[in-house]
Symmetry: C2
Subunit: 398 residues, 2 copies
């Protein structure tokens, strides 16, 4: 049995999980949308309260009571804080003018797609990957071309797969790093090879780095835009505050785009200058607090998650004939049990074991996901242990 | 000199205006975007703190600290609170399922346009009206057809104008009630005549009622969807919390649509089911607090605004040859001074009198606005008096 690290903070202990509030407030297939006796390890959203420094900043700002219109691209303090953080923590050369506050990372991706694609333009996306990649390309009139990726695949192998899907309609490549649902963190050299190949073929790069704060030792996150000025000019980096700081409900993310013309097109495609699109100022204030004052909380959260990751891998080792890749980042794991119909398995687990998981179906992650399960382990040790105890009994009875 | 009503609350006195915070936080051509010595009577956004009950609810919710994903159409409590309020205060027959939480009224209108229009479809919009009407129709691929409207125009006269613009491509009519910038509140019989004409011609109705809480005695607001079940089925009502409760920065509004199929199309056009579109849960909580606990604050605010309206009309009567229609609702007024180039006049007023106003230009309100000024009077008496003192000196020197 893997114990909790001594560093694990009180914020992430069993009694820190606000179950009653989650049952009222956690939607997206989580507590508020499940039967009361079901444990949801579904949407990638933590079971913990947000960091105290963010709560305090929200309280202060709400008390001050001015909720006037914000500026279309984001509060000046938001843009400068994000830029400084990306500069010093990710090595991306950028200033406040390169930052655009978006109403979620997903909304940022949608604006990028609309700004960058014409009807019929093709986009190389990984298979598997979160459904929003395919969805967003299609909504913008583009055609997603799925490129098989795996936990082990080298850059050369991935480029070989990319080549197969490349046509004269290919306009962009979308990366997900760290990768949801594979849990893979791409190394700098891997990224450099893929980015250089992309630029050689005239493709613009979207790098979804919403998971980039959830990376486990000894892995480190590399922002593709930090690799060279040439890459930076062709890349837009998407970031958010939902996975790292549990702010999904506040709907705040951002993108960093060094090319002023492209950025202007994205901002215009978002319909931000008209005020039709924008981000709640209170949500931006939460994000500012996260960056400036959330560091130690985040370190503790990551430590807790690393312990949870190890524990999850250990518990999965008891499952019958189940392939498990150890996540290098993210707080999801993507095991492949031996079962002919994964959606039926998930239904059965929910019905009889009272544990809700996400099926690795083509709908959610692409055809490459079929046969897998996705399990979110961003909960307390007690809840996770109870879920695995239930699943052990489920397997024993199967 | 018109004094402040005895009812005017401490919330709206001169010392209640948080000038220092506004100078940091009020964008959209307001304090944070003007020279320090300029008084902005520009964007329709109050100079006051939000109502204490909303602040308290935000503080409580932030302290509780759960910011998980909300559901795509809005929090259940948001939808039920809004539905109940529209049912009891507007006489619209609706339930929670008819309500869709939107990231601003403007974003709601954009989703309605995308769901309801095909390329080249025509929409009858008033001239003048806020620029978002034209903008939003055009962004959805539709063609706005401007229909001249005035402060005095009867329904029969307006229908005559509508007839002139009606073609076999006309699909919708968009109403703005109370009307920005005319300040007109349309009477029930006026609305019934226009709505019946619209339905006879197979047009769907969008009713922008974001101003509907700011109506002055003896006028009363009528929701067009409350007039008959037939009208309700063809109408979507747009509402928000920016004008009434000063929550523009929180980006929260809603729409009420009784036709389930149409509503589903709107929700889909918004891209809400995918989570790409959504509203901050904290902003929804603020809106819930506004409806449930903000009533007495709103009554005081409206009383203050009615006093301000009367004072504004009195001060404008001293302007040389200026036509003034007394607003029946909204906190904007739309005088027409005698000046050949209204944009130059506005520039001159800002430069030499240090008062910023919105020019009645075609860009902001349509060709029917040319020659007018729009003045927002949602500030304290002292600030408004100072602005008019400056403008009096400006006219004296002109």
């Amino acid at each position: 049995m893997i114990g909790l690290s001594k560093l694990t903070s009180q914020h992430f202990q069993d009694d820190a999980v606000p179950l009653e509030l989650l049952q009222q407030r956690a939607f997206n297939s989580r507590w508020a949308q499940q039967e009361a006796d079901v444990i949801p390890l579904t949407a990638a959203d933590p079971d913990f309260r947000i960091c105290p420094a963010i709560r305090q900043r929200l309280v202060d700002y709400a008390t001050e009571g001015v909720m006037s219109y914000g500026p279309p691209l984001g509060l000046p303090e938001f843009r400068s804080t994000v830029a400084q953080w990306f500069q010093s923590n990710r090595g991306i050369t950028c200033g406040p003018e390169d930052v655009f506050a978006t109403d979620s990372a997903a909304a940022g991706m949608a604006a990028i797609a609309r700004a960058s694609l014409e009807i019929g333009d093709e986009v190389l996306i990984p298979d598997p990957v979160d459904f929003l990649f395919e969805h967003t390309v299609q909504r913008a009139g583009g055609i997603p071309k799925r490129v098989a990726i795996s936990y082990e695949m080298t850059a050369a192998e991935y480029i070989e797969e990319l080549e197969k899907q490349l046509t004269n309609r290919t306009k962009m490549i979308w990366l997900c790093n760290p990768h949801n649902p594979l849990g893979r963190v791409f190394a700098a050299e891997w990224l450099r090879a893929v980015a250089n190949w992309s630029i050689e073929h005239g493709l613009k790069i979207l790098s979804d780095e919403i998971w980039s704060d959830i990376v486990y030792q000894p892995h480190v996150h590399t922002s593709v835009a930090a690799l060279s000025p040439e890459i930076a000019q062709q890349t837009v980096t998407v970031y958010g505050f939902s996975k790292n700081f549990a702010l999904a409900g506040l709907r705040v993310g951002c993108l960093i785009c060094a090319d002023p013309l492209w950025r202007e097109q994205i901002v215009e495609a978002a319909d931000a200058p008209s005020t039709v699109f924008g981000v709640s100022v209170l949500s931006q204030v939460a994000a500012i607090a996260a960056i400036t004052d959330g560091g130690s909380w985040l370190t503790e959260f990551r430590q807790h998650l690393q312990d949870q990751r190890d524990y999850t891998v250990q518990r999965l080792s008891a499952w019958p004939e189940t392939k498990v890749d150890v996540p290098q980042g993210t707080y999801v794991i993507f095991p492949r049990p031996t079962h002919p119909h994964i959606e039926e398995l998930v239904e059965e687990m929910k019905r009889s074991a009272k544990v809700a998981l996400v099926p690795g179906s083509a709908r959610w992650f692409g055809p490459g996901a079929v046969g897998h399960l996705r399990i979110c382990f961003a909960t307390s040790r007690g809840i996770l242990a109870e879920a695995f105890d239930r699943l052990d009994r489920f397997w024993a009875q199967s």
